[in-house]
Symmetry: C2
DNA sequence: GGATGGACTTTCACCCAGTGAAACAGGCAT
DNA sequence: ATGCCTGTTTCACTGGGTGAAAGTCCATCC
């Protein structure tokens, strides 16, 4: 590249990606100056790159100058297959689970050291909870997180422990030893409980979703606002749904490798 | 940039975006060589840029070497607000509409000269149709498309007519004059019908969704596999749902500007 | 009212990051 | 063994990217 100063060794691509990465659930609309601050890039650089992103449709700019994520990026993001496959198969099961329990049904995968929520069914009457589709929550303080962590490679567990277990409520597990024991129990039973460790008043049960190769690729959970006994009461239902989704995934895999592809071109 | 040859005047950013743009519904997994062909970029260039995208999480690479869209991109794409707001409000209405009719309920916005489907409710028992969330269909041959086109700026209409009206079935409207008359009728009635113009055996009714400023920002439709009379029978229900969504959007806008923001950080 | 601070935009001399042909390596047909 | 395809690495060359600096616009403050 060039430029008479700045930090050499940073690729253009990394700058473009840093700009996209500056957007998050908590910051879905950003001004030019905010992007520059969040990325550490000089304002003119952000300006130039953002203009290209806008021209392409990856970002859009409001009359008042703020940037948002554009539809083009949503469209391309919706092609991400990890979640596409699983969602397509899991949604009917999740709907059944919702019908049966009227709790908050959630589906999450692990992305780095956090749980990324890829689908959620709350119905119109369910109580609001903190998770959000496309949002992230810590692994050590949620039902789905414990599942994902319990079946993650050892290095991920180490990494999470090293980073420290943030205390979110008085009931959050912050002692590494206690978490490790909990994870061992999760692996033994295939169930993870979470008793007000993320939010006071919320309890949840979660269960793993297995891919065709038996590895754990996602976690399914139900969150209710009541007493620990309820979480235990719903455990069999959640476990059954998880097994159902896993079985369906395996079946789809062996049978129709790309049966979806018949749909729509572009 | 540099490089001893190639097409000068093409920015690095445009190349990165071209790589992302190479992915589509019909091509959600691509090899290195395929990306190079689809973008017109030299293979080594794609190789280098794709590696950066993989490192960032925007793409992921399978053991066999094929690339797919990564979760990171899905996550950021899910922040696109145009669809986020509308979907959140529209989904309950769409569910009601599904309960009442058991047809395929769809929500689409206009992206350039095409209809982009942002939500779809088909239930488990509905017959399959060609649309797909994240997919595109032509404006002139679908119910939602006619709505979006009828209320689009004149230049978009001109552009679509200039590009030519592709014949998809014997019933597709391919005469510009006929389409213009149909659009005038759509504007008059607030309803668009589509009788097997996209797919033989499928008929649909669509209605506009208005933003707080009364502009048309989306279209809602129901697709059924039967006779034209059914489309007309469902018209009042679709119209009512459309008005309900529009009213709710306006109310949300004046009342709670960013009531969602209280949720989850990251 | 004019001074101050913040946001956004444009310019432009500087130069290094990006380039892609070419060569190499592996796989699979013929 | 030959051809053809894919993916990977190298490297001499150079023009696209750079960002401080200056300019513009608009609030807010004294």
């Amino acid at each position: 590249m060039a430029g008479n100063s700045g930090e050499p060794g940073r690729s253009v691509t990394s700058k473009v990606l840093a700009i996209l990465g500056a957007f998050s659930v908590a910051h879905s609309e950003l001004t030019l100056a905010q992007i520059a601050r969040r990325t550490g890039l000089p304002v003119p650089t952000v300006h130039r790159l953002a203009r290209e992103l806008v021209a392409w449709g990856g970002l859009e700019r409001l009359p008042d100058g703020t940037y948002r994520i554009g539809l083009r990026l949503w469209e391309i993001g919706s092609l991400a297959p990890q979640q596409r496959r699983i969602r397509q198969i899991a949604i009917p099961f999740m709907e059944d689970l919702y019908e049966a329990t009227h709790g908050n049904i959630q589906l999450a995968v692990r992305e780095g050291g956090e749980a990324l929520y890829i689908e959620k069914i709350s119905g119109r009457y369910a109580v609001p909870i903190v998770s959000r589709v496309g949002g992230r929550l810590p692994l050590h303080a949620t039902g789905v997180g414990k599942i994902l962590l319990a079946f993650a490679p050892q290095e991920v567990i180490d990494q999470v422990l090293t980073a420290g277990l943030a205390r979110l409520t008085p009931k959050t597990i912050v002692m590494p030893g206690k978490l490790l024991r909990a994870l061992a129990e999760v692996r033994r039973t295939g169930l993870a409980f979470c008793y007000e460790e993320m939010t006071l008043g919320s309890v949840s049960v979660a269960t793993p979703i297995h891919g065709p190769d038996q590895s754990v690729i996602a976690a399914l959970s139900i969150v209710v606002h009541s007493f620990p006994a309820d979480a235990q009461r719903f455990a069999p239902a959640v476990r059954t749904a998880g097994l159902g989704i896993s079985r369906q995934l395996a079946r789809m895999d062996s049978a129709a490798p790309e049966a979806f592809a018949r749909q729509v071109a572009r």
